[in-house]
Amino acid sequence: MRKFLAYFHMAFSDALVYRATGFIWMLNDLGPALVMIIFWAAAFQTKETISGYTLSSISLYYFGVMMINSLISTHPHYFLSEEIRSGAFSNYLVKPIKLAVYKLASALSWRAVRVIFFIPLILILWQVFPAQSTHLSFSLITLVLFIFSLSLSLLINFFIKMILGLTTIWFTEAGWLFLSFNIIASLFSGDMIPLDLLPSGLVAVNNFLPFKYLVYFPLSLILNKISTAKELFLGLTIEFFWVIFFYILYRLVLHRGIKNYCAYGG
């Protein structure tokens, strides 16, 4: 824990220096969801409700997507990939540092700095778009479950990205893999549209895939879209399973990867 805080502190000052960089990345994270809200707003001009959503509930959904994309999902893979190519990855092997702990601390510190921009920006957008807070009524227990589910999705996302980053050891250039993941995830995580708009067959399969638990599942918790206790329990169990799964897979890939790693340029 002490180490974690030290890494966090270090990266935090780094993130403060690169404020503008963080701001531009945040705009890029918000962009797609904002475009979708605008389009939906036009779609709701002729209809009151569309498959159970009203304009304000769907706006609220996309505000949730924006929050997850800018504060919860991390992207350690790009830099990790660069470090593997340049040989800087060796640093993690010779120093008494746990790679995942270090990367998680630095990713979270960048997110922490982001909160500073995110809150004023989201408050402005909240005024512009009709996502009234009246639709956001939840009990304390839902809030606790939401935060729990959100932290699990943070971990799933983090370990997937770490695994993707580590594949650079074998592929040297793994950008195509990162992009492929983004494309599939953007459709199946609920990033682009709420998943209940997909055909029911697809939804049924998607319940067991990890993507849904990155975005849609935590959001459906806070938006009161989960009605039965069974559904809730099943969802949280599957989510928890994926955290464990990707953690073990990460350990395995790291272990194999270190044996294959060639430390170029070192």
């Binding site: 503008a20 890029n28 918000l30 992009l179 682009m192 708009l197």
Partner: protein
Amino acid sequence: MKRYFKLYLAFFKNCLIREMEFRSHFILQNFISLAWAGVVMITFFFIYQQVSVVNGWTLEMMLLLTAIYFLVDRIFDSFFEINFTNFITIVNTGQLDLVLTKPVSSQFFVSLRQFSFAMIFSNLTMIGVIIYLVSRYFSPISWLQIFTFIILILVSVVITYSLWFITLLPIFWWGRVDNMQHLFRPFHQLCRIPVDVLGKLRLFLTFIFPLAFVATIPTKSLINSSFSWLVFYGIGAAVFLLWLSHRLWRFSLKYYTSASS
């Protein structure tokens, strides 16, 4: 002019040879850039399962808009995207010195030095999708419409290039911002939806900050058979923005401090 053309041909050949060395990468990149367009189209397909028309835009129109958006986007990517990424690096490392001493326009050199073949399939497929959608849902169309459409695609590429290039220039003052090339992207994504759904912003985005010309107006030129005088405004706007990007480039260069050595 002829000199620039010959120079560009040399750049082009040079990049083709490079690209062919990494063939598997080339094929993968092509496939992935195509998949993106596919995902956006699927999204609209699912949305239109719930509604039949949005502000006068039907599913077929939206698919056409998406195909045109991605066509322009991929043309932009092929010609400019890598160069814009490199541009940030060469300003920060001081390698821009080398470019400035060359006997060609420096803006030409930094914008067009590399050509990316990674989007070729994607471009051809988008053209295919556009032809299919038009012949299936929006035919017959006249030769005049096809001609206007091609002009508007050129206008769209020039406007995208000029606006995007202008957003790179603050790098001369804020060298630390190493992702400046992504500043324009969220604004560009706004072109994925028709400007008609933007309400009050529509006129602003047509005449002042002409993002409407990126995809909406080219799409409309294929949908509506009546000729729109907006084409001339678009040509004017493209020429003006290109000129403006050049003036601002000249101005910004005065603040170049040549980072290293």
